[in-house]
Symmetry: C2
Subunit: 212 residues, 2 copies
DNA sequence: TTAAATTTTAAAAATTCATTTAAATTTCTT
DNA sequence: AAGAAATTTAAATGAATTTTTAAAATTTAA
């Protein structure tokens, strides 16, 4: 594996081929899913031949597993990280919505891919990642309890809050073909629509959290 | 095609084979998606042989198209129908959430299937269905405008409301493997969780809609 | 410069899959 | 019972895909 290329002399040299294959594979997998993606397409997209893919990754399965794991982590890790920053609650909610919205706007295919492949596979890998305890004992969960105890907000299960926020941010992206069509919006207009939600979602959540 | 069976005499007789194949195909397609579903699996699930599938539906594609169209309509038509009933706004919101939640609980695989296949295919069929105008000129859209004009609620784009509600109801179902795992809930417990949301979602929306 | 590591090219073997066909059998209709 | 429709069986075809192999070409490092 060549890692560092002498950039001064030859700029045309292929950047790390392993990464190039992975990047191409990710694109194709995201667009077509595991079964829809054909190794020929991936190889073409990567600009290499099929044999080389097998040289780096033993099989389509292994290539997929690596990519899915990374993609899952970027999809889900991103938001839990944001949630666990030590910021005041209301600020945090605005910030999470803002940044996660940007994230899904820039990676529009990622959510459907993760959600649908997650449902199809057995996903033994869940057991490896110890996400469970991470969330329960999280700063965010504690923060919600404390604010509720202080009477600053209504008590709420952090999972409900997570589900509501992710739903409100992610759904308009995964249902874009449908929503864009019924609204008759164009590309740009629909992006505006998604950005408008940066206001609506936090306002809705804060309105709900406000104690009676 | 045999349509009417003499029910008095023979109850064991196979129910309409065409429907049997379609039902089996729907199950398999929902679980595995178009490319993941193999005609052999479908034939087995239907308890018929492959040749017979081709006798009724010319190809896998045609079988899929029929099923996808029906599934899409049941997924999306269901909620727009509910939205357009002539009920007072707040009652309607509670009702939509309640009934659509029940619907997705009973058809948990349907949303991911629709959303992910929608993203993969070209979906020329959208043009056939004239959903666009149906939504814009809907009773629901008018209702929202009128209530806002009366000062009963804050003004809101009906599409935002639709996206928020669907997201809040649908996301916890499509992300179930993930959410259930991080929360450590079992089947039953997770269903309870979904039902709790019948309270949370409408309250959140009403809290947002309340004018300042 | 040479040996080892990497990459490309080519190809073929093995497998899986959707589809087609034809013939045989069963079930339904009249 | 006769003829039509539905269903099964089995086989074959052909295309697509994955996997494997072998060797040539290139690059890298000692």
């Amino acid at each position: 594996m060549q890692k560092e290329v002498d950039e001064g002399v030859k700029n045309k040299l292929p950047l790390d081929t392993e990464q190039k294959i992975k990047a191409a594979a990710k694109e194709v997998f995201l667009r077509k899913g595991f079964h829809g993606a054909k190794v020929k397409d991936i190889a073409e997209a990567a600009g290499v031949n099929i044999a080389l893919m097998n040289y780096y990754f033993r099989s389509k399965e292994q290539l997929f597993e690596q990519i899915f794991l990374e993609t899952f982590i970027s999809f889900f890790g991103k938001i839990t990280t944001l949630f666990n920053e030590e910021t005041p609650l209301e600020v945090k909610i605005w910030k999470v919505v803002d940044q996660y919205t940007d994230f899904v706007i820039e990676n529009p295919l990622l959510p459907v891919f993760v959600l649908s492949e997650m449902q199809k596979n057995e996903l033994t890998f869940f057991k490896q990642l110890d996400v469970a305890s991470i969330f329960k004992t999280s700063f965010f969960a504690r923060q919600l309890r404390e604010e509720a105890a202080l009477g600053n907000i209504r008590a709420i299960d952090p999972l409900h809050l997570l589900a509501t926020m992710m739903g409100s941010i992610v759904f308009p992206v995964v249902a874009r073909p449908m929503l864009q069509h019924i609204s008759g919006m164009g590309q740009e207009q629909y992006k505006e629509f998604l950005i408008e939600r940066k206001q609506i979602t936090p306002r809705m959540i804060m309105a709900y959290l406000k104690p009676d």
